[in-house]
C-alpha cells in the first residue's frame, strides 16, 4: 500500500503541478432535515499524466469526489480548479464545454444510446466529422473492429463497456474519469477494461474510483476515502 497517499497538507495547487485541484472541497446533501457530508474538506490534485486511484468502501463518497472533480457537481464549499480555472466560476455551458473537450467519462453502467451503433456512440463524445477516423481506430484498437455497426443490444456487457472506454478516449481528453467502470463486469473483463483505459489514455490523466484494490494495480497513486474524508 505504499502507493496509497493523500495530498500532503499545505501543498500548493497550481497549474504547473495539478491539472485538477480540489481545495477544501465539501459536498453536502440534505436528507430531510439532516445534513450529510458526501465529501468533507477534501484537498487533492490530479497531476498531468498520472493514473490516480480513489479507493473506498461503498458510501465513502468516492463517486461524489469524482463528480466534484469533473464539474458534474459543484462543491458546497471549497473550490475545484481545472488548469487554474475555478469550475464554479464557469456557467453551465462553459462547464459543459470543458467536460466535452477536456474530460472523458466511463460510468459504472455502460450507458450507450440504443439507437446509435458502436461507432456513432463513440462519436457522441465528439460529433465533429474530423473525429470519425479516430473513433474507428479506437474501436479497432479495443478489439471491436467487427462491431462498429452493431447496436448496443447486439453487444455483450464487456463490449459495451469497451465502447464506453473508446468514447471516453475520443479526442484525447486531458483527464478521464472512471466511476467504478468494472463494477458490472467479471474480474477478467474488469482488468481488461482498466488496462485498455490505461494503455490508450496517452498523456491524459486517469482518475478511477473503485472499491476493488485489485483494479488499481497499474495506478501511479491511490488515495483512500472514508466517510467523505481522505484517509491519512
Amino acid at each position: 500500500m505504499d502507493k496509497v497517499s493523500a495530498i500532503r497538507p499545505g501543498r500548493r495547487c497550481g497549474t504547473e503541478v495539478g491539472v485538477i485541484s480540489a481545495v477544501g472541497a465539501s459536498l453536502v446533501y440534505r436528507d430531510h432535515e439532516r445534513e450529510v457530508f458526501a465529501c468533507s474538506s477534501v484537498d487533492i490534485e490530479v497531476v498531468p499524466g498520472e493514473f490516480l486511484g480513489i479507493l473506498g468502501p461503498s458510501g465513502s463518497g468516492k463517486s461524489s469526489l469524482l463528480y466534484l472533480l469533473s464539474g458534474l457537481k459543484m462543491p458546497t464549499s471549497g473550490s475545484i480548479t481545472f488548469e487554474g480555472q475555478d469550475l464554479h466560476q464557469l456557467n453551465d455551458a462553459q462547464r459543459a464545454e470543458t467536460r466535452l473537450t477536456s474530460f472523458g467519462f466511463v460510468f459504472q453502467y455502460p450507458y450507450l444510446l440504443g439507437y446509435l451503433n458502436a461507432l456513432e456512440n463513440v462519436m457522441v463524445a465528439r460529433p465533429e466529422s474530423d473525429f470519425r477516423e479516430q473513433a474507428k481506430a479506437l474501436l479497432v484498437s479495443l478489439g471491436l473492429e467487427s462491431k462498429l455497426g452493431r447496436l448496443p443490444h447486439e453487444l455483450s456487457g464487456g463490449e459495451r463497456q469497451r465502447v464506453c472506454v473508446a468514447r471516453a478516449l475520443l479526442g484525447k481528453p486531458k483527464v478521464i474519469f472512471a466511476d467504478e467502470p468494472t463494477a458490472n463486469l467479471d474480474h477478467a473483463n474488469g482488468i481488461q477494461v482498466v488496462q485498455l483505459l490505461n494503455q490508450h489514455r496517452g498523456d491524459g490523466s486517469l482518475v478511477m474510483v473503485t472499491h476493488d484494490p485489485s483494479m488499481l494495480a497499474e495506478a501511479d497513486r491511490i488515495v483512500r476515502l472514508e466517510d467523505g474524508h481522505l484517509a491519512p
Binding site: 458534474l72 466535452l100 453502467y109 450507458y111 444510446l113 439507437y115 446509435l116 457522441v124
Partner: protein, 379 residues
C-alpha cells in the same frame, strides 16, 4: 454525419415518433374534416344562389301593376350602366341542399332574354335545346340536373307536385353546361298558366364586375318601398346570419377538441421524454449543456409537430377529395377541399401541442440531475 442530428433520432425511433405524429395527423384530419363539411352547408347555399351574383331581381310587393314604374326608376336612376333589363315570370320549386330541401325559383324569360341570360350564366354548351315559345319546357343547368337527378325528357314541374307545381308537366328539354344553378322556362307559357300574374324585373350590370354596386344601389333606393330586391349580397348576408349560431357551436367544439388533444399530447410527450431520461443524463454528463439538449429536443419536437400537421393537412385534402367524389359532387353539393378557414382552424393544434411540449420540457430540465441518473439513484 452527426449522430445527434435531429433526423437521426426521429428516423431510428420511428416506433416512438410516428404515434406522436399520428395523433397530430388525426387531430388535424378531424378538425379539417369537421370544419370543411360544416362550411360546405353555407357554401352549398351560396353556390345554389350564386347565379344571383350575375343579375339582380326586383319585384313589386302587393301592387302588381307597379312593375313599369320600377322599370322606369331603374332605367333612369341606376348609376351603373345596365346590360339587360328583362321582364320575367317565376314559380317556385325545391332543390336538395345539404340540410334538406331548399326553395329555388324557375324563371321564365322571353326567348331573346333567355339566350342572353344563358350566356351571362357562363354556359359553355347546351345538351338538348331551348324551350319553345308557349310550351311547357325548361332548360336547367348541369348542377341542377345532378342534384335533382333529372335527364332530358324528365318532368321538372307538374300538376301533381305540391312543391313544384305547374298546370302541365314541364319537361326538361335542355341541360346547360355551367357551374351556376338555374332553371329557366318560357315566359309565354308562364303568363298563360301561372299565378300570380306579376312580372318582375331582372337587371344585369353591363360590366359583371359592377353587379354588386348595382345591387347596393337598388337595396338603398328601394328601401321602405313596396318593392323587393333579390340580390346575392342579401342572400349572402342572410346565409351568414343563418349559420352564425352553428359557427359559435363549431368554435366551442373545436376549442374543446384542441384542449383535449393538447392535454393528451402533453401527457404523451411527457412519457416520450421520460423514456429518454438516460439519454439526456448521459449527454449532459458527457458535456452537452442543458441549453444544447433543450434546443435539440425543441428541434425534434418542432419537426414532429410540423410534420404531423403537414401530413394531417395532406390526409385531410385526400379524404375530402374522396368525400367530394363519392358524396358531394354526385349531388352537386359544394365542398371546398382546400378550405382555408378549415386549415386555419387546425393551426392552434401544432401551436398548442408545441407549447405543451415546451412546458413539459421546461419542467423536466428545470431540476434535472444527470448524476442522479448515471449513478442510477434516479431512474
Amino acid at each position: 454525419m452527426n449522430p445527434l442530428g435531429t433526423l437521426i433520432y426521429l428516423r431510428r425511433n420511428a416506433s416512438r415518433t410516428l404515434p406522436l405524429m399520428g395523433v397530430i395527423v388525426l387531430a388535424v384530419l378531424l378538425i379539417c374534416a369537421i370544419v370543411s363539411l360544416i362550411n360546405s352547408i353555407p357554401l352549398s347555399v351560396k353556390t345554389i344562389y350564386k347565379y344571383t351574383s350575375l343579375m339582380m331581381g326586383v319585384t313589386p310587393r302587393g301592387e302588381a301593376d307597379r312593375t313599369p314604374q320600377i322599370k322606369r326608376i331603374i332605367e333612369n336612376e341606376c348609376p351603373v350602366p345596365i346590360g339587360r333589363l328583362a321582364l320575367c315570370r317565376a314559380s317556385s320549386t325545391e332543390v336538395q341542399a345539404l340540410v334538406g330541401k331548399w326553395q329555388f325559383v324557375v324563371i321564365a324569360f322571353d326567348r331573346p332574354d333567355l339566350e342572353y341570360v344563358l350566356k351571362r350564366m357562363g354556359t359553355t354548351s347546351l345538351v338538348g335545346r331551348l324551350p319553345e315559345v308557349g310550351r311547357p319546357e325548361a332548360v336547367i343547368s348541369e348542377p341542377v340536373s345532378r342534384n335533382l337527378k333529372l335527364k332530358l325528357g324528365d318532368i321538372l314541374l307538374g300538376p301533381d307536385r305540391q312543391d313544384a307545381y305547374s298546370p302541365q308537366n314541364v319537361k326538361v328539354v335542355g341541360i346547360a353546361k355551367t357551374a351556376n344553378w338555374f332553371m329557366f322556362a318560357d315566359r309565354e307559357y308562364y303568363t298563360a298558366n301561372h299565378f300570380p300574374p306579376i312580372d318582375f324585373i331582372l337587371v344585369t350590370a353591363k360590366n359583371p364586375a359592377r353587379q354588386a354596386e348595382m345591387d347596393r344601389w337598388a337595396l338603398r333606393r328601394f328601401k321602405g318601398d313596396r318593392t323587393q330586391v333579390i340580390s346575392y349580397l342579401e342572400i349572402e348576408r342572410q346565409a351568414n346570419e343563418m349559420f352564425k349560431t352553428l359557427y359559435k357551436i363549431l368554435d366551442v367544439v373545436i376549442g374543446i377538441l384542441v384542449v383535449v388533444i393538447t392535454l393528451m399530447m402533453g401527457m404523451l410527450i411527457n412519457i416520450y421524454l421520460g423514456q429518454r431520461t438516460h439519454e439526456f443524463a448521459l449527454l449532459q454528463a458527457l458535456g452537452y449543456s442543458t441549453k444544447a439538449l433543450v434546443i435539440r429536443v425543441i428541434k425534434e419536437t418542432a419537426l414532429v409537430v410540423m410534420g404531423g400537421w403537414l401530413l394531417g393537412v395532406m390526409c385531410s385534402i385526400a379524404m375530402l377529395n374522396v368525400v367530394d367524389h363519392w358524396l358531394m359532387y354526385p349531388n352537386a353539393y359544394a365542398l371546398d377541399i382546400t378550405d382555408r378557414t378549415a386549415l386555419a382552424y387546425t393551426i392552434p393544434v401544432p401551436i398548442a401541442i408545441f407549447s405543451a411540449a415546451l412546458l413539459t420540457l421546461w419542467t423536466r430540465f428545470r431540476r434535472f440531475d444527470p448524476v442522479g441518473v448515471v449513478e442510477r439513484r434516479l431512474v
